[in-house]
Amino acid sequence: MYPFLDLINLTTVSAGVLLIGAAGIIMLKKPLDKVIMFALLQGGFIGMIVSAKYLDVAMVAAIFDPISIVIMLIAISKLDEIRKKKEKSQEEGLIA
Amino acid sequence: MNEIISIVIAAILSWFNFVLIDTWMGLPEKPGVKGADVIGRSVLKRGGDLAGGFFQGNIVCSPDASAGTLLASAACYTIGTPEGGLIAAILVYFGNRLCADPGYAGTTGALTITGIIFAASFIGIGPAYFVVGMVLAIVTIQGINHPLASKLIGKIAEKMGRHTELT
C-alpha cells in the first residue's frame, strides 16, 4: 500500500544489517565491542546467503560461527592478561 | 485489518506462554551460567530488578521457552502442524544441553505452543502469525526499556513464588 514497504525484503534487510555491523566494527574502540558487532555482522551475512538460496553454504556458515568467535575471545582474554601483568610489574619496578 | 488482529492475538498468546513457563521453571531464581549473572547485575545497576535481570540474562545465554516458542512455530509453518513441533522440541533439547542447561523449559515451551497452534488453527490463525507474534513479544521484553521490563518480571515472579534470594 505504501511505496517504501515494497523495498523491505530479506535482501535489503540483510544488507542494512551488514552495513551497520561494519560501521560498528570501525567506529567502536574496545575489542569486546568489536566482537559483539562481529556477531551482528554474521547474522546479516547468513541472511544474505539465504536470500540467494544457497542453503548448504548457509548451513556451513551457521555452524562455523561460534568457532570463529570463541577463537577470537581466547586471543583477547589472553592478551588482556599479559598486558595487565606487564603493567603491574612495571609499577612494582618503579616503586622498588 | 483481519491480519493485524490475528497478529495481536498471536502475540498475546505467545507472550503469556513463554513468560509463564520460564518463570515456572525457575529462570528468575538463579543464574544458570556465569554470563547471566553479569547481565543481571548490569540491569540492577541501571535501576531494574535483580530477578528480572537474571531472567533476561538466562534468555540470552541459553535457548529457553522463548526459543522453543519461536522455533516450534517456525517448524510448524514449514513442516506441518503436529510433526514440526516435535522435531523442534528435540532440536531445542540438544541445543540446551550444549549450553549447559538441563533443558526443561525449552522442550515444555515447544510442546505447549504446538498445542496452542493446533487449537488456534480452528479459528483461522495460522502458524505464520505466531512467528511474527513471538518476535513482537520478545521485543517487549528485551528491546524497549530494560528496567521497566525487569520490574514487571519481578512482580510476576514474586506472585508465583520464584523470586530470587541472592542480593
Binding site: - | 525457575g26 510433526e83 526443561y104
Partner: protein, 99 residues
C-alpha cells in the same frame, strides 16, 4: 467432526513408540521421575527426556518416509537404549558448577 482412519493410525503409532520406550526404560532400570526439585536436576529419567526424544525421533522417521507400527516400536526401543547408554557420553553434564 470426522476422524479419518489415517489420523487414528498416526496417533496410535506415536502412542506405541512412547509405550515401547517406557517399557524398555523400565527394563533397563531408568528412574521414573528426577529427584526434587525437578527443575534443577540433571538426572536422565523416563518421563523426561526419554518420552520427548521418542516423540521427536518418531516424527523425524515418519517425515523421512518410513511409516507403520513396526517402525514406531523399533524407534521406541532404540531411543530407550540411546538414552540409557549413549546420551551421557554425547552430551556430558558440565563439570564445574559455576555460581
Amino acid at each position: 467432526m470426522i476422524i479419518h482412519a489415517n489420523v487414528l493410525f498416526t496417533i496410535s503409532s506415536y502412542a506405541l513408540a512412547v509405550a515401547s520406550a517406557v517399557i524398555v526404560g523400565l527394563v533397563l532400570r531408568l528412574p521414573i521421575l528426577p529427584e526434587r526439585p525437578i527443575r534443577h536436576s540433571w538426572t536422565i529419567s523416563i518421563i523426561f527426556p526419554t518420552s520427548v526424544l521418542a516423540l521427536g525421533f518418531t516424527a523425524i522417521v515418519f517425515k523421512l518416509g518410513y511409516e507403520g507400527l513396526l517402525v514406531a516400536a523399533v524407534v521406541g526401543v532404540t531411543t530407550a537404549i540411546f538414552a540409557k547408554y549413549l546420551l551421557e557420553r554425547i552430551l556430558p553434564k558440565p563439570q564445574t558448577e559455576e555460581s
